[in-house]
């Protein structure tokens, strides 16, 4: 037998420096953007101009630029909070892909509070109650899968996936079913339609000249700081780190691993519900397409950021720029769909996943043990 010997084989890496990591990621983004440029050229679109429009969000030479920024923030906040929340669950290797459902349920619960109490209580109280309702709705919905996983080992990936659709159809049910009981609907409209929230249930804004700053952005940034501190300095954050790293060790240290998983997943899902509450409160109305896929995109963001809080801030901003920018650019270049953002997003993540490999493994030269003998 003639020995065949590949030049390299794969071995695990002990350690990779932060610089190498950043370099790998930047390279990944560059590659994806370059492939995107090729695709654009094939479509006959000048990619330079397109990218310029896209990455500047169509703000240049736009007298309604402040409106664009306001809308950008409305997209950015839910994604940021959702990604942050998902990272909490992923840190414990709990595959919560039910972000869509938890977001929807949070929005629905907040919407119920808005419709019922929006007129009768002070605005700040209504908004707080909406946030609370959103967190409870999302949190309780998410924690079901956690309890079943801890108790029976139910596959949480598949279960939370099912839960997404159940929540979606529940929302659609409220949006499309007439009835005296259905306080969500606009009684004036001939077709079933969600009614706009009363004034008192709409998100607070701080006027800065023409621009009004959405308060949920401030809350989201505060949450970033809060989660950062929570993970890094608190006892519960410490437990999350240990359980995520080695459940056996956590058990050995006397931690109640199941309870910690359930608690963390509740927190994660509750935050997603809060994102849902903020989203509907900012939009001022429920809709069946309110999630804007944040439950899915959040997973991509959390993964891009390696579950790191600061990274999530950067990655969610980048992804929102892609999405919002592609929308803005496709107004000018009508042959390019707004979903070009998804395409780019996908390619960036492919490149990052591939780059990840080289940060976790390395190719080692194989030994020349089997030199061919005569």
């Amino acid at each position: 037998m003639k020995p065949k010997q590949p030049l390299f084989h794969v071995v695990k890496r002990d350690h990779v420096s932060r610089g190498q990591l950043v370099l790998a990621y930047v390279l990944a983004v560059v590659i994806a953007v370059a492939v995107g440029a090729v695709l654009l050229t094939v479509m006959g679109v000048p990619f330079g101009a397109f990218y310029q429009k896209m990455f500047t969000l169509g703000l240049l030479d736009n007298k309604f630029a402040y409106k664009n920024v306001e809308n950008f923030i409305k997209l950015f906040v839910p994604l940021l909070i959702t990604s942050l929340a998902l990272a909490l669950a992923f840190r414990m290797r709990f595959w919560n892909i039910g972000g869509e459902g938890q977001f929807t349920l949070g929005a629905l619960c907040a919407g119920a509070v808005a419709m019922q109490l929006g007129d009768s209580l002070p605005r700040i109280v209504v908004l707080l109650l909406m946030a609370l309702a959103g967190m409870l709705g999302g949190g309780l919905y998410g924690v079901i899968a956690a309890i079943l996983k801890v108790r029976y080992g139910t596959n949480e990936t598949l279960l939370t996936l099912m839960f997404n659709y159940m929540a979606l159809y529940l929302l659609a049910f409220f949006g499309e079913t007439r009835g005296a009981w259905n306080f969500f609907l606009d009684p004036q409209s001939p077709r079933p339609r969600f009614m706009t929230f009363p004034e008192g249930a709409q998100m607070l804004t701080i006027p800065l000249g023409k621009f009004s700053l959405n308060v949920s952005l401030l809350v989201a940034l505060a949450l970033c700081a809060g989660i950062f501190v929570y993970l890094k300095y608190t006892k519960q954050g410490y437990e999350i780190a240990v359980v995520g790293d080695s459940p056996n060790t956590a058990k050995y240290a006397g931690m109640k691993v199941g309870a910690i998983v359930i608690r963390t997943v509740f927190l994660s899902a509750a935050l997603i519900g809060l994102a849902g509450a903020f989203c509907v409160s900012s939009a001022g109305v429920l809709s069946t397409s309110l999630t804007n896929d944040v439950g899915w995109t959040g997973i991509i963001v959390a993964w891009l950021a390696k579950l790191n809080v600061l990274g999530i801030l950067v990655a969610s901003a980048l992804i929102t720029v892609l999405q919002y920018g592609a929308q803005a650019a496709s107004v000018t270049y009508s042959s390019v769909d707004a979903n070009f953002a998804d395409l780019l997003q996908g390619m960036i993540l492919f490149a990052v996943l591939a780059a990840d490999f080289f940060t976790r493994f390395k190719l080692a030269r194989s030994a020349h043990s089997g030199e061919v003998a005569k």
């Binding site: 037998m1 002990d14 780190a241 240990v242 790293d245 080695s246 006397g254 030994a367 089997g370």
Partner: protein, 525 residues
């Protein structure tokens, strides 16, 4: 012309990250012989064999089969070269039948799965003299049946070189005897057999030659007929060092931890610890000896509250601790540290820093919601200084430390907690001499402070020098408790293999017997 070997390995080196598992190892096996590969736990035996079977690839060195250099890139290559390995953890698909486990890798060209495969496999099985039901699903099989299936599988594939990794660890005495008959028959048929083991009696019984590894290094190969246990032990553990471990005499206190009629099951649901009785007093070190897998791990886990017990009592300072949570047991001052074979599995969080690992059991202390990292840093610095941990900083993830340093961190933390009962399993596993002595010193200091120590060890010489008493387990049963300074290695060895049971009447006149052997019965010391 030089003699032609079935297998020849030359200058094999293999490292995992910074850990060198094999360094410049040589190995030769003839056709029609049984070669024992002897070495302590962690000496690199399995790694070496995994390179022969294509699981790992060597970093350096060459492998010759029938005198020709070969490159083994995958298990498929190994199979083609007629090398088959029975792994310690069986490689079987649970939901498949015995036949399908063989069929999935066999050479037949059949495209379809015919019922006739059962007959074909049954015929071959019978030809080899085995009794395996080809249609039985693996998940319905007992351990010995699975092993037989693994051997049949390897033979079915036409292996001429058969490697068995600690095959007797999971077998009863009778089953072991049957296995050895099988191995002798394979040898008679011209197969080369390599059996990995660390049990000397088995080596002497079954092998023609013995190759010895120590800490990843090749030591020597000798003819079994010309050697004996002493010589093999010396090669295995290295030059006969005067251990000179101190055994300070300390005023013993009343029993701190009493174990009564304890029965525990292992993960597979089999009895791991069978009605065991013993106690630990303050100011003494009680050794636990036994071959790998005789229930030590389950015992440690049960004491720490990590494993439910079937029956019996565990009484700590007069209070039953059965059913308490690990946290509650910890709070009572019972500390357990277990160094598993991969060193990181239990007790440490590999990706976290030394500081964070220091806090593992005490992070809840103190008021407020924040972890007191300042104290963690102080403790980490103390342990690093006092135990001589080699690390770039206290912030370094434990994963990146070398084995010895990992263990120092682990033991350092346990002692910092100020326990009154210290359960420690394999604390010197893989450590060099100096580090080991540092660990013994630490344990002796604890003993002087009145701590009761349960020391689960591998090295009998160390245990005889360090411990006050040694209890021996065999297949989960207590074979007796002996005074370390009175007993002999032979006595311990006989008990470990189940040949000597001091708990019955014949133990009354044994050399080292301690009164704990028959619980509650006074025997003169």
């Amino acid at each position: 012309m030089a003699e032609q070997y079935a297998i020849e390995m030359r200058g094999i080196t293999k490292a995992f990250g910074s850990v060198v598992a094999n360094h410049n190892v040589e190995l030769k096996v003839r056709q029609g012989e049984i070669l024992a590969l002897l070495g302590e736990n962690g000496s690199g035996k399995t790694t070496l064999m995994n390179m022969l079977s294509g699981i790992y690839r060597p970093d350096a060195g060459e492998i010759l089969v029938d005198g020709k250099p070969v490159s083994i890139q995958s298990p498929e290559d190994a199979k083609r070269l007629g090398i088959g390995m029975v792994h310690q953890h069986f490689k079987l698909v649970d939901v498949f039948s015995a036949a399908d486990n063989i069929w999935m890798g066999s050479q037949e060209k059949d495209f379809l799965l015919h019922k006739s495969r059962y007959d074909r496999i049954r015929k071959v099985t019978e030809k080899f003299g085995f009794d395996v039901d080809p249609e039985k699903k693996v998940y319905n099989m007992a351990v010995s049946e699975k092993q037989t299936l693994e051997i049949v599988k390897v033979l079915y594939y036409g292996a001429k070189v058969i490697i068995l990794d600690e095959p007797t660890a999971v077998l009863t005495v009778q089953e072991t005897r049957k296995l050895f008959d099988v191995l002798r028959r394979m040898k008679a048929e011209g197969h080369a057999v390599i059996i990995i083991t660390h049990k000397l009696n088995e080596v002497l019984e079954i092998s023609d030659r013995v190759a010895i590894l120590r800490k990843g290094e090749y030591i020597t190969t000798v003819d079994t007929a010309t050697t004996n246990e002493q010589a093999l032990t010396e090669w295995m553990v290295g030059r006969k060092v005067d251990l000179n471990i101190q055994r300070p005499q300390v005023e013993k206190t009343r029993p701190l931890l009493e174990i009564r009629d304890l029965t525990i099951k292992n993960d597979e649901g089999a009895v791991a610890i069978d009605k065991v009785n013993f106690y630990i007093r303050g100011g003494e070190i009680l050794g636990v000896a036994g071959i790998a897998g005789c229930g030590q791990k389950e015992l440690c886990e049960a004491i720490a509250g990590l494993r439910p017990i079937q029956s019996g009592q565990m009484i700590h300072k007069g209070e039953n601790i059965v059913g308490l949570s690990p946290k509650a047991i910890l709070d009572k001052g019972i500390s357990m540290s277990f160094i598993p074979e991969d060193r990181l599995g239990m007790g440490l969080a590999p990706s976290l820093s030394i500081i964070d690992n220091m806090l593992l059991k005490s992070y809840r202390d103190g008021k407020g919601i924040f972890v007191d990292r300042k104290r963690g840093r102080e403790e980490a610095d103390t342990v690093i200084r006092e135990l001589g941990v080699v690390t770039p900083s206290a912030e370094t993830p434990v994963r990146r430390l070398s084995g010895g340093n990992v263990q120092k961190v682990l033991l350092g933390r346990e002692i910092k907690a100020g326990p009154n009962v210290l359960v420690t399993a394999y604390p010197v596993r893989g450590l060099d001499i100096n580090s080991s002595y540092a660990i013994y010193d630490i344990l002796n200091r604890q003993k002087k402070d009145g701590v009761g120590i349960l020391f689960v060890g591998e090295d009998l010489d160390v245990m005889m020098a360090l411990c006050d008493k040694i209890m021996v387990l065999c297949h989960g049963r207590l074979m007796g408790v002996v005074h370390a300074h009175k007993t002999t290695k032979e006595e311990l060895g006989l008990m470990m293999t189940g040949a000597l049971d001091l708990t019955g009447d014949e133990g009354r006149h044994a050399k080292g017997i301690a009164k704990d052997t028959r619980f509650g019965e006074e025997v003169e010391e």
